[in-house]
Each structure stands twice: as C-alpha cells, then as structure tokens.
C-alpha cells in the first residue's frame, strides 16, 4: 500500500478531486498549506510597498492506495492538476506499513 501526498494549485483542487472520484478513489484528506518550490512567489502591494509573498497557498491532498492502483491514480492526479506553468506542484509517494478501518477493524488492502 502506498501513501500519495500531492501538493497542488488551490484552483485545481476541484478538478483533481472529481477526477479521483471518477477513478474510484473516494477517500482522501485535504489541508491548506503554504509552500514554494521554484515558483517565485506572488506580489502583494499595500500603500506603495510591494511584497513578494514567498509562501504561496496550495492544497495538500493525502490518500492511500493499493499497490496495483498506484500508477493509474498518479496519472489521474498529474493530468488533472497540470497547467504547464511554474507552480503546478509535486507528488510524493511513500510506503504504508498498515491501514485499519476503525469501524470494522479490517486491516491491510481491504481497509484501503
């Protein structure tokens, strides 16, 4: 089982979420984060003073998938989150040791 953490543009979240649901992936948790990669920051101006806001609001999606679904889901995320401009975000994949569904006690792939 694999954990996928995707940091994507805020305005892309709705289409990514929809694409994931269409692909059969309904469980996820979402948080709002600030971050930067190579994107230069956004400019904000107040009373003549201009600031480069280094930390840009992004949306962080976390989901856990079975190994056999990993590549397919990664493709779904990349395709729906992509714009081609700097700031599209990154995806991180890591191993998951155990997954448990609290309600039923199921473990492993069945709980994903």
């Amino acid at each position: 089982m694999k954990r996928i953490i995707a940091v994507i543009r805020q305005e892309k979240f709705e289409s990514v979420k929809k694409a994931l649901i269409d692909a059969g992936c309904e469980g996820m948790n979402v948080s709002e984060v600030k971050g930067r990669g190579r994107q230069m920051g956004i400019r904000e101006s107040y009373r003549g003073s201009s600031y480069c806001i280094d930390l840009i609001p992004k949306t962080r999606l976390e989901l856990v998938v079975n190994d056999e679904d990993l590549e397919r889901i990664l493709d779904v995320i990349v395709e729906s989150a992509h714009t081609g401009e700097v700031g599209d975000g990154k995806i991180f994949v890591s191993d998951v040791a155990e997954v448990i569904r609290i309600r039923t006690g199921e473990r492993g792939s069945d709980a994903v």
């Binding site: 305005e11 709705e14 956004i42 400019r43 904000e44 101006s45 107040y46 201009s50």
Partner: protein, 403 residues
Amino acid sequence: MVMLSTGDTAWVLIASLLVLLMSIPGVAFFYSGLTKRKNVLNTMFLTFIAFSIASVIWVAYGYPFAFGDVSINGLISQPAHFFMTGIGINDLTGSIPTILFIVFQLTFAGLTAALVSGAIVGRMKTSAWMIFIIAWVSLVYIPIAHWVWGGGWLMQMGALDFAGGTVVHINSGVTALALALVLGKRKNPSLLPHNLGYSVLGAGLLWFGWMGFNGGSALAANGLAASAILVSNVAAATALITWVLIDTVKVGKPTMLGAITGGVAGLVAITPAAGFVDVPAAIIIGFVTAFVSYYAIYYLKSKFGYDDALDVFGVHGLSGVWGAIATGIFASPAINGAAGLLFGNPNQLTIQIISIIVTAVYAFVVSIILAKILDKTIGIRVDEKEEIGGLDANLHNESGYRL
C-alpha cells in the same frame, strides 16, 4: 412662511448617515461574505467605488437634473446649480436645508449603484464596472429619480414610492439582471459563502440603516417617520420568520442565510409602502414577499439559468415589484393621505403597475445597451485565468486574509 425645523433637520441628518451605513459598509459586508474568499476584497471594492462615483456625479449634475425646480415634459429637470453652486447654506426644501435633502438623496443614489454589484461579483473588469456606473447613474438612476420623486411624469401621474421601491430596488434589481446576462455565468457559479458571518454583519447594518432609509423619507421628525420605521420592522421580522418557516419545510432546517435574506426581502418590499400602510398591511407584505423572493431564488434562477450571483434581481427586483404593487393595494389615507385599492381607489394599483413596468423596462433596456457597448469596446469580463485565480490577487495584488 416655511421655517427650518431643527427637529426635522436633526432626524434627516441622522437618517442620511444611516443610509450611508447601509452602503458603507453594510452592502460591502453583506455581499463579500457570500462570495468566494479569493474575491472578498474586490466585492467590497465594487460597493465603495460605486458609491463614490455616484456621490460625485450627484453633486456635479445628478441632483440638478433629477430634482430641479422645473421639469421638462416630466422627463428630466431643467438643471441649475451644477456642483451645487448657488445653493445657499440656509436655503430650505420644506422644513430642512436644501443641502440636507441633497445629502439624503445622494446616499440613495450611492446605495442603488452599490446594490447592482451583487449580480456581477467574481468576473467583471474594474474599468468596465466604473464606466458602467458612471453611465448608468447618469442615464438610468437620474431620470428614474426625477420621474418618481423629482416632479417627473410618474410622480405627476400619482405613483407612490415612499422610500425607493422603484427608484432603488426594482431599478437595481433589473439592472443587475441585465448586467449578469451580458457578462455571462461564472466558471464556478456555486454559492458557498466564504464568511457567512460577514453577511450577517452586513445584513444587520442594512436592517439598522434601513430605518433611516424608510424613516428618513418622511423628511420630518414626526409620527409618519415613526410609523414608517414601525411597519418596516414588522415587515422585515414577518418576512424573516416566514422565510425561516419555508426553509424548514423545503430543505428541512432553518438557515441563517435564509433568515437574513428573508429580513432583507421584507425591508425591500416595505420600502415603497413604508409611509402609506398600516401594521396589518405590513405583516401581509412581509409574509407574501418571503414567498416571492424565495421562489425567485430557488426556482426562477435555476429555471432560466442566469447567474445573478447574489440574487439582486430575486430579492431587490422582485420584492420591490411586490412592494410597489402592495402600496397600490394597502395605501391607507389615515397614514399619509393616499388611498389604495382596499380603501376604495383601485386606480392607484393601476398607476403602481405602470410605474413598475416603466421603471423595469427602461432600466433593463438601457443597462443592456450600456453593457453591450462596453463589452464591444473594452470588454467587461476578466479573463479565465484571473477569474479562477481570484480577483483580489489578479486585479488588486491583495489578499483579504493572511492565515
């Protein structure tokens, strides 16, 4: 000889400030709470800039063309006193200073312009909004104000509009619809208020300020002003309760958004009637108007597919129509001399309907023309990237929250 009444003047001075409060910051908060977070500042900006533009136009040539001493065929005034030159500090209009009457009316012009912004949030270019407001105040608001209040033909015909059912609410509602149609739908037309608390705050300021809007229209510190305030509160409260009950039946639970929308709808509907009807009539007016605007928002909008984002047409336009009709039905001579259908004067209802149709058609047609001209010349809609990224960041380089 009419003399200055310090009581009347004090009240209308305060009432003017109350109407100012409705726009600044009442409407700004009411609307911005309902929009997406990324557009909160732009939504407030639309109100502030519209009010400001209307204010300057009003003193430059607005008041002269709307409320001059002589009406040219009932269509527009023979203007004088551009930029208020020649109006004396001690000149009187009735028992209050002329300057005060100008101030009071200025706040009405500003509010009407600000109200229109609710339909177009999230997708209109700032330059287009500003130019539209300049043209619209000049070509729509000023003539209608003249026709209904400034001695123009609707007033001569006997149309009753105590505080602005036609001039403010039908006018802004229909204009909003026209603009929304030319602008087109937002990419994401969902109504997910980012800060409903702001809207509650805004609605509270509106309710509070409305007491000056309706009460001040008596232009005197007297029983009529008190009666206007009394019936306004009753209509608002009745409409709020009714809306809450409709919500409970239709969607299962009462909602805060429904409550404040109901309250505002009640205030809109009572506006033309406030100085003409009694308490029982006000209760009926409030009760019925909840159904009128509820239907407009929940059914009409989805049926016809127009993106009147914050329901300016549904609330201000249509509750304004009902209020103007109701004035023709319930006007009681005991309150302010005018008689409606229920008091043996069916003609009043006919006159009201004419004034509604004239105002609505004129405002709609001219607004569509102005919007289309603007769209063909400078374009009125922002581009897709700006719309999706948010207007605060793209049009203002600001953000409303720093979390």
